[in-house]
Each structure stands twice: as structure tokens, then as C-alpha cells.
């Protein structure tokens, strides 16, 4: 009997042995290159996604999004829902519970006080927190005990996964950041460059805009992870050099955002040292139509405002014809290759929000010409259409970007074929997207007839994104030209549906309304002409295992699972 137990015990131990081989720090160092160097490790003070991604190795939120866009728990014990009582019936209260025995990398316990402090830190009126939108609508936060956090929202929230969800709102340690709230944020360089976190790595050295050196967190909750003892994130250079360093020379294991022309990238991958991974999210390159008149003949203060509707583009047939003349498949192939998909939808993902909308994917030049004839635009002597003495001439602007300039050239050619003359304009990206109220070249000011750029939304719920196109969000001199409704689209039906969406909790119903809204602004009215669903493209070495490209969260979201392939 004793012998039998002993033998059973020995067999059981032998079976457990392989699991013991996967130990923390066994695989040495992992080298990651971000050609846009991280400037800070505090995502609340950051100016770009690179900072969020670098900090995601160290600090974690309560929950994250996996590669399918599904919310999964990180520091939380489970995801709150109406079923488990985590979300109240009236959708105004959300209760999060922390996993027990969580420790910061300095050994102190993680408590609900840290979570509440993080929200206060970002919502501080003088903090200038970059992720304030994640904490919108919160009325108060209670912490009845060390492991429970209760969030009270002002309005019912069908989708409460904004605060503390995703790499944009990780939890900061209260003891470390206590004196950094508000105006003190800038004086806290040591804290911003070396946050204490619960993530798989902790910061050893941070050289801003240069490199981050990290080592495995000894207090990480899974004792067998991370497999790497050290991680280095190097910044600088450009996308092509980064791709080469992974795919051709093998100096680095992972390169983020290798936005290189498709044929060049394929050539590099041919060396056989690494592979390219692509993932699709919600980034859509689109052409926006200006429904108001930007003509310089109008007085300042009335140009590109709802006072003067656009003389050419107010007609839906003209807008549709312009869209029909474009061959999206060719554009995608030239500009993005495998990293893009032609699309007709403003909201291409998650799947349930993607409308079944493929009508625009085939180029139809004859149909476009017929539509323009029907709209009364006849071809003049020089091949350009005219109506009532006015020529069909458009000013087409975009930011400085080689792929965008290629698109402009192609689209100008197609529009030339249907009798539309186009003037191309390019604006430096930091000016175009800058939002400076005094600059005439911003995309909100829209002193052009059509413009092209790409936009996306955070998280998996498109409601705030679709709500951009309501009548009140039109940029105007009164609003300092701030406002997301750059097309100046105003449809009372649309606004009504947005309000209804805000009140709907059931996911299927939300999806139906969202699809209808998407169709209203794309398929039905052609106010927004989507071109390409742009994916993320990154490269990693063949010897690096466990990489799963996630477009809904930080690309380094599962770095705890990365290991060397033997």
C-alpha cells in the first residue's frame, strides 16, 4: 500500500516535471524595436500610441481586449456583467473586484485605493490627462474594501468598458504617484519614467526618445512567466530600418508598425529570418466630402460653414459618382498590399457592427458618368463638366505621406476620366491634424472640397465614434473650429438614432442601430467615402513564439506569454 502510494506520487511528480521547465527568465533577452521612440512611460501624459505600448509591459489595467476584441480580466478577478451582478440593472453602477494577493513590483499589495487614485489622477482638472475620455461620465467611485471598486456613472452605460479597460487606462500605484496629481505631473520625471506596476516587467532604465531597459518582475502573479529575463525596447530610425533589423539581420526580435511599401516588405521577408503579421482593427482611410462651401470668395467666418451649402457636393449624385469612379482594390494593392482591405464601411469591425456593404468595391466609370449626366453636369469643350457656367473643379487635400500622395494621383486620374478636374493639396501632418484654431489648413477647418485621411476608435464600441456626425458637432468659428463632424453633415434622423443608441443596452439591437447609422453616412448619402480598411503590420523573428497581433489593445499585450521557440 505504501509502495503503491509512493509510486503514484513519483509518477505524478514526473508528470508535473515538464511544467516546471517553463520557468521565469529562462529565455534571456528579447529585443523590440519601435521606430517611433517612446517618450514617457506614463500613458496619461503621453502623446502617442508608442508610449502606451511601452508602458503596457509594466503597468496593467483591470481588464484588457484580446485579439478578437473580447474583454478579458487582467487585474480583475472576473469581468462584471449583468449576469454576475457586476453591472447593475439600470446600467449605472459597475463593480470590479481585484484578484486577491496582487503585488506591485516593489512588493506592496495592490488595493482598491490605487484604482480610485488612478481615476482621480486622470480626472484632475489641471492634470491635462491625455486619456480623460476613458473616464468620461463617472460620477463617483467607492471603495468599500481593499479588493472592491464600485463605479457610479451619471448616465446608464451599455458599454462600461472604458475606465480601467485597455492599455489606455492602466492602474498607477498611489504611493508612487500621490504627489504627481494635477500641476505636479511635470515635476515627477522619475515616476513618469519608471512607474511601479504589476506587469511582467519592471523598468531598469528609461532613456526618453531612445531606449527602455526592463527586467522580469519578481512579484509578477504567474511565477512561470515571463519567459524572458530582460526586455529592451529601442526607439529611433524609420519603419524600413526596423523591418530590416528583424527580417534581414536578425538583430531584433519584434518590430512594431513596419509600414513599408508592400513589395519591399515581401522582399525583406524572403530572407527567411522572420515573418510579417497583420491584424485588422477599425482604422479606415477615407475621403470626406465637404457639404459646405469653402470658396475663398466668401467672407472669413462664413467659409466652410453651414451658412453656405456646397454648390457641387450638396448633390448626392455627384458624391456617389465620385465614389463609383474609384478602384479601391487597386488602391489597396498599391498602397498597403496584404496590410489593407478595400472597404465601403466607416465601421469595419467588430464583426457585428460591420454592415453588409460591398456595393462600392467595383469600379463603375460608366455608371459614374451616367449619374453626372443625370445630375445636369454636361461635358464641356475641355473635357471638364460644367453646369450653369460653373466648372466641376474640386480641391482635394490630405497630409504629407507617400502613400496618400500616390492615392491622390490615382484618384485625380480617375476623376479626370469622368470629367472632374482636381487640384491636389498636401499639408504637413502636424499642421493638418494639429487642431490649431488659427490655421486654415487643419482637417476640421476643411477649406477644401474633399479631404482624405484615416481615423479609428478606441475599444470595441463604435457609439462615440458614430456620434461624431451629429448636428451639434459641426466645427465653426464659434467653437474655435473644434468639432469632429468635419463634413458638416446634419440629418435629424441620424441624431434621433444616435440618441436611441445611447439608450439601448441589448448588444444585438445596438449592432443593428450602429449598422444603420454607418449605412446612412456611407452607402446612402456618400458623405464619407471609405477607401481602405488599414490593418496593422508588424514583424517578428521566427525564433520568437507566442506573438498574437492584437489591434484592439497594445501589441505587446501578451508579452508575458512570449518565449523562444526551441
Amino acid at each position: 500500500m505504501r509502495l503503491k502510494t509512493l509510486m503514484l506520487g513519483a509518477v505524478a511528480t514526473a508528470a508535473m516535471a515538464p511544467a516546471a521547465f517553463a520557468e521565469r527568465g529562462a529565455d534571456g533577452q528579447v529585443n523590440i524595436i519601435y521606430w517611433q521612440a517612446p517618450s514617457t512611460l506614463n500613458p496619461y501624459l503621453s502623446s502617442g500610441t508608442k508610449d502606451l505600448e511601452a508602458s503596457s509591459l509594466v503597468i496593467e489595467p483591470l481588464a484588457g481586449f484580446d485579439e478578437k476584441g473580447v474583454v478579458y480580466p487582467r487585474l480583475a478577478a472576473e469581468i462584471p456583467s449583468t449576469a454576475n451582478g457586476g453591472i447593475s440593472e439600470d446600467l449605472k453602477t459597475v463593480t470590479w473586484k481585484l484578484k486577491p494577493d496582487l503585488k506591485w513590483s516593489d512588493g506592496s499589495p495592490v488595493t482598491s485605493a490605487d484604482v480610485k487614485f488612478t481615476a482621480d489622477y486622470c480626472m484632475h482638472p489641471e492634470g491635462g490627462c491625455a486619456q480623460l475620455a476613458r473616464y468620461e461620465g463617472i460620477e463617483s467611485i467607492e471603495t468599500p474594501d481593499d479588493l472592491t471598486i464600485i463605479i457610479h456613472f451619471r448616465e446608464p452605460r451599455p458599454n462600461p468598458f472604458t475606465a480601467f479597460t485597455g492599455s489606455q487606462s492602466p492602474i498607477l500605484q498611489k504611493a508612487q504617484f500621490e504627489k504627481c496629481a494635477g500641476t505636479g505631473a511635470s515635476a515627477c520625471t522619475a515616476e513618469n519614467f519608471g512607474p511601479i506596476g504589476t506587469g511582467p516587467f519592471k523598468v531598469v532604465e528609461f532613456r526618453t526618445n531612445d531606449a527602455v531597459t526592463l527586467e522580469a518582475n519578481p512579484n509578477y502573479r504567474d511565477p512561470a512567466k515571463p519567459a524572458f529575463a530582460k526586455a529592451v525596447i529601442k526607439g529611433g530610425g524609420d519603419a524600413a530600418a526596423a523591418a530590416r533589423s528583424v527580417l534581414e539581420t536578425g538583430e531584433f526580435d519584434y518590430a512594431w508598425n513596419t509600414l513599408v511599401p508592400p513589395d519591399a516588405l515581401k522582399g525583406m521577408a524572403g530572407a527567411g529570418k522572420g515573418k510579417i503579421v497583420t491584424g485588422f482593427g477599425t482604422l479606415v482611410e477615407r475621403i470626406e466630402m465637404n457639404l459646405t462651401d469653402p470658396s475663398p470668395d466668401l467672407p472669413e467666418g462664413e467659409r466652410a460653414t453651414t451658412k453656405h451649402p456646397h454648390p457641387i457636393l450638396s448633390d448626392e449624385r455627384v458624391r456617389r459618382a465620385l465614389s463609383m469612379a474609384i478602384d479601391r482594390t487597386l488602391l489597396t494593392e498599391i498602397g498597403f498590399g496584404e496590410a489593407g482591405r478595400p472597404t465601403c464601411n466607416l465601421v469595419p469591425a467588430p464583426e457585428m457592427f460591420a454592415s453588409d456593404n460591398t456595393g462600392c468595391l467595383t469600379q463603375d466609370v460608366d455608371g459614374a458618368k451616367a449619374l453626372l449626366d443625370e445630375a445636369g453636369w454636361t461635358v464641356g469643350g475641355d473635357g471638364i463638366r460644367e453646369k450653369d457656367g460653373k466648372k466641376l473643379h474640386l480641391l482635394y487635400q490630405t497630409s504629407v505621406n507617400p502613400i496618400r500622395q500616390d492615392f491622390q494621383a490615382l484618384i485625380k486620374q480617375w476623376w479626370q476620366d469622368i470629367g472632374v478636374s482636381t487640384e491636389l493639396k498636401t499639408v504637413d501632418a502636424s499642421v493638418f491634424f494639429g487642431g490649431d484654431a488659427g490655421s486654415p489648413d487643419t482637417f476640421q477647418r476643411f477649406y477644401a472640397d474633399v479631404e482624405m485621411y484615416a481615423n479609428n476608435f478606441d475599444g470595441t464600441d463604435p457609439e462615440p465614434y458614430l456620434a461624431h456626425y451629429t448636428c451639434e458637432k459641426v466645427p465653426s468659428p464659434e467653437s474655435q473650429w473644434q468639432g469632429e463632424n468635419v463634413n458638416r453633415y446634419c440629418d435629424p434622423e441620424y441624431d434621433k438614432l444616435i440618441v436611441e443608441l445611447g439608450k439601448t443596452a441589448n448588444m444585438e439591437e445596438r449592432a443593428t442601430i450602429a449598422r444603420k447609422l454607418n449605412d446612412m453616412i456611407t452607402k446612402d448619402s456618400m458623405t464619407i467615402v471609405p477607401l481602405v480598411d488599414r490593418g496593422r503590420v508588424s514583424a517578428h523573428a521566427n525564433s520568437l513564439g507566442g506573438v498574437v497581433l492584437n489591434t484592439w489593445d497594445s501589441e505587446l499585450w501578451n508579452i508575458a506569454d512570449w518565449h523562444r521557440v526551441k
Binding site: 524595436i33 521612440a37 517618450s39 514617457t40 506614463n42 501624459l45 502623446s47 502617442g48 500610441t49 482638472p125 489641471e126 492634470g127 491635462g128 490627462c129 491625455a130 486619456q131 480623460l132 475620455a133 500641476t183 505631473a185 511635470s186 515635476a187 520625471t189 513618469n192 519614467f193 532613456r207 526618453t208 526618445n209 531612445d210 531606449a211 531597459t213 529592451v232 529601442k234 526607439g235 529611433g236 530610425g237 530600418a241 530590416r244 533589423s245 534581414e248 539581420t249 538583430e251 531584433f252 504637413d428 501632418a429 502636424s430 499642421v431 493638418f432 491634424f433 494639429g434 487642431g435 490649431d436 490655421s439 489648413d441 481615423n455 479609428n456 476608435f457 478606441d458 473644434q482 469632429e484
Partner: protein, 335 residues
């Protein structure tokens, strides 16, 4: 000489202040926005709050005067505290970079060794190559050595560093894999092996820059030597029976070095500026890359601080070059 130096220094002060005002106004007038590169997913109201937190809500003259005060009072006080252990500057706002929200000078101090090592070393090596080439080219004018030297100088001077740099990376870094294509700024030299690694990663950027510098200086050296080799005193020295070596290296070289030394002194501020293009191409992440990044993100405090430092260095080294010229050449009198 002393009066001259003092006069120049006093004149430098209003010059530098004027330079700083011009830089500031240029940056203000430029259309870029410090918050232009943040993701579009951040709503406008949040952007406004961010703008205010950076201090951009204040009028331009207030911000300029604040920067002046920070540069000339707060920062020196901070260094004084750092050295002497006192705490006079505690609580005072230092010059904060918009991008990193950290003190600009800390980043500059962190990057300075990197730039000095790579760019400074390449300047030194460029000099060591250029001087002998210039001397021999002049001595054996129109010989095959001179022709090759002229050709190499022309090539080194006219080919831009972003071209030679990328060619070297592709040939030596990627095809032959002799050198790493990405520079590791966190590498520490502790023993022979790590020293070899450092030498290997510095080889390519130093070569590119040394070629460029050598091209310029060798031409100067050659021209200066040619001027002096024709002089009468050289003929006299030879007639007196002095050996060729002594005539060239002791008499002619010393006289020829005078203008060349001033040219070298004038080229030194460029070393601190970092070779912007080369640093970017090789990812050396020194002061040059810092300046380019700051300009692209419209990080006004950082750009102002860096360019003002360069302005100070240029004014200082111009003065040093002039004084050196006066010291080396007894025929020059300043009064």
C-alpha cells in the same frame, strides 16, 4: 588682446539674446502644433486641457520671458545645487519639454556623451586622416597621390551622409553582416569584449562622418601648405642645408596650420550639434536626433534650449578661433 576678448564677450550678450528672441518668434510663427501628433481618438476638449497643462494658454511674451528666466536663473541654480548639495532651486519650475514632460537639460545631459563619443571621435579621426593627406598632397602636387586625394575629397564632400550611410549599412550591415545596423545606446563598456562590441557598432557612423570631415579639412590643409611651400624662407632653409623633413614638418607645417586650426575651431560647434542626418540614419540617438524629433513634434522649449546652446557654442568658438589665430600668428595684433 584681453581688451579685445572682453569687448567681444560683452558684444556677444545682446547678440545671443537677440538670437533667442528670433528663434522663439520663428517657432511661434511656424504653423505646427505641439499637440498635432496625438491620436485623433482624443477628443478636442481633452486636447484643450492638455494644451493648458503645457502652459500654451499664456501670451507669447510671458512664455518667452519665463523661458529666459528658466534658462539663465533656474537651470544654473539647479546645477549649482547638484554640485554643492544645496537646495536653493527646490520647487522652481525648470525648462520642461512638451514631448516628455521632463526637464530638457536632463535629456541633453543624458545624450551629450553619446554625441561626443561618436561625432567627436569621427571629427578627431577625420582630422588625423586629413592632415597627413593634405601635407602629402601639397608636397607632391599633381602626383598620383594628389589626384587620388583630390578625387576622394570631392566624393566625400559631395556625397551626402544619408546616402553614404545607407549604402554602408546595406553593404556592411545587411549583406556582409560585419557590423550591426542598429546602434545600441544602452551598451556599457566594462571589459575587452564589450569594448570590441562598442568599436564594431561605432565603426560605420564614425567612418561616414570622418570621410565627410576629412574631405573638407584636407583641402584646407593642402591649400595652406601650397601657399607656404612657395615662400622664400623655405628656399633659404633648404639652402642652409636643413633636411627636407625638418623644412616641411617643422617650418612649413607650423605656419600652414594657422588658418587650418581656426577652421577646425570653427567646425567644433557642429560636433555638439550632432550630425543630425548621420545620427538619424544610424539611430545613434544623440543631440542631433533629439533636435530633429523636437522640431517635428513642435516641442518649443526643447528646440529653443538646444538651438540656443548651439548659438552660444558657435559664438564662443568663433571667439576662440579668432583669439587662437592671434596667439599663433605673431603678425596679428588685436586692439
Amino acid at each position: 588682446m584681453l581688451v579685445y576678448a572682453l569687448r567681444r564677450l560683452l558684444l556677444a550678450v545682446p547678440t545671443l539674446l537677440f538670437i533667442s528672441l528670433v528663434i522663439f518668434l520663428l517657432l511661434e510663427a511656424s504653423p505646427g502644433d505641439p499637440l498635432g501628433n496625438i491620436p485623433l481618438t482624443i477628443p478636442a476638449e481633452v486636447k484643450e486641457k492638455m494644451r493648458e497643462a503645457l502652459g500654451l494658454g499664456q501670451a507669447w511674451y510671458i512664455r518667452y520671458l519665463l523661458w529666459l528666466k528658466q534658462f539663465f536663473w533656474v537651470e544654473p541654480l539647479h546645477w549649482f545645487d547638484h554640485i554643492s548639495g544645496t537646495r536653493f532651486s527646490e520647487g522652481m519650475q525648470r525648462i520642461i519639454s512638451f514631448q516628455t514632460r521632463s526637464p530638457a537639460f536632463d535629456v541633453i545631459a543624458q545624450r551629450l556623451p553619446q554625441t561626443l563619443t561618436v561625432v567627436g571621435l569621427s571629427y578627431l579621426i577625420g582630422l588625423l586622416i586629413a592632415l597627413p593627406i593634405g601635407i602629402i598632397s601639397a608636397y607632391r602636387q599633381y602626383s598620383w597621390f594628389d589626384q587620388i586625394g583630390t578625387f576622394v575629397s570631392m566624393v566625400g564632400f559631395s556625397l551626402p551622409t544619408f546616402f553614404t550611410g545607407v549604402v554602408l549599412i546595406i553593404v556592411f550591415g545587411i549583406k556582409l553582416q560585419w557590423f550591426p545596423s542598429i546602434y545600441d545606446t544602452t551598451h556599457r563598456v566594462t571589459d575587452w569584449d564589450s569594448f570590441v562590441v562598442q568599436v564594431r557598432q561605432m565603426a560605420m557612423p564614425v567612418t561616414v562622418l570622418a570621410l565627410y570631415n576629412a574631405a573638407q579639412i584636407s583641402r584646407f590643409m593642402r591649400a595652406s601648405m601650397l601657399d607656404n611651400l612657395r615662400q622664400d624662407y623655405v628656399r633659404t632653409a633648404r639652402a642652409k642645408g636643413l633636411g627636407e623633413r625638418v623644412v616641411v614638418l617643422k617650418h612649413v607645417l607650423r605656419n600652414s596650420l594657422i588658418p587650418v586650426v581656426t577652421v577646425i575651431a570653427l567646425g567644433l560647434p557642429a560636433v555638439f550639434g550632432g550630425a543630425i542626418i548621420t545620427e538619424q540614419v544610424f539611430k545613434v540617438n544623440g543631440l542631433g536626433q533629439l533636435l530633429i524629433l523636437a522640431i517635428n513634434s513642435n516641442d518649443i522649449p526643447m528646440v529653443m534650449t538646444l538651438t540656443f546652446i548651439f548659438a552660444i557654442l558657435i559664438v564662443a568658438f568663433t571667439l576662440i578661433a579668432d583669439l587662437l589665430y592671434g596667439v599663433l600668428d605673431p603678425r596679428i595684433r588685436y586692439d
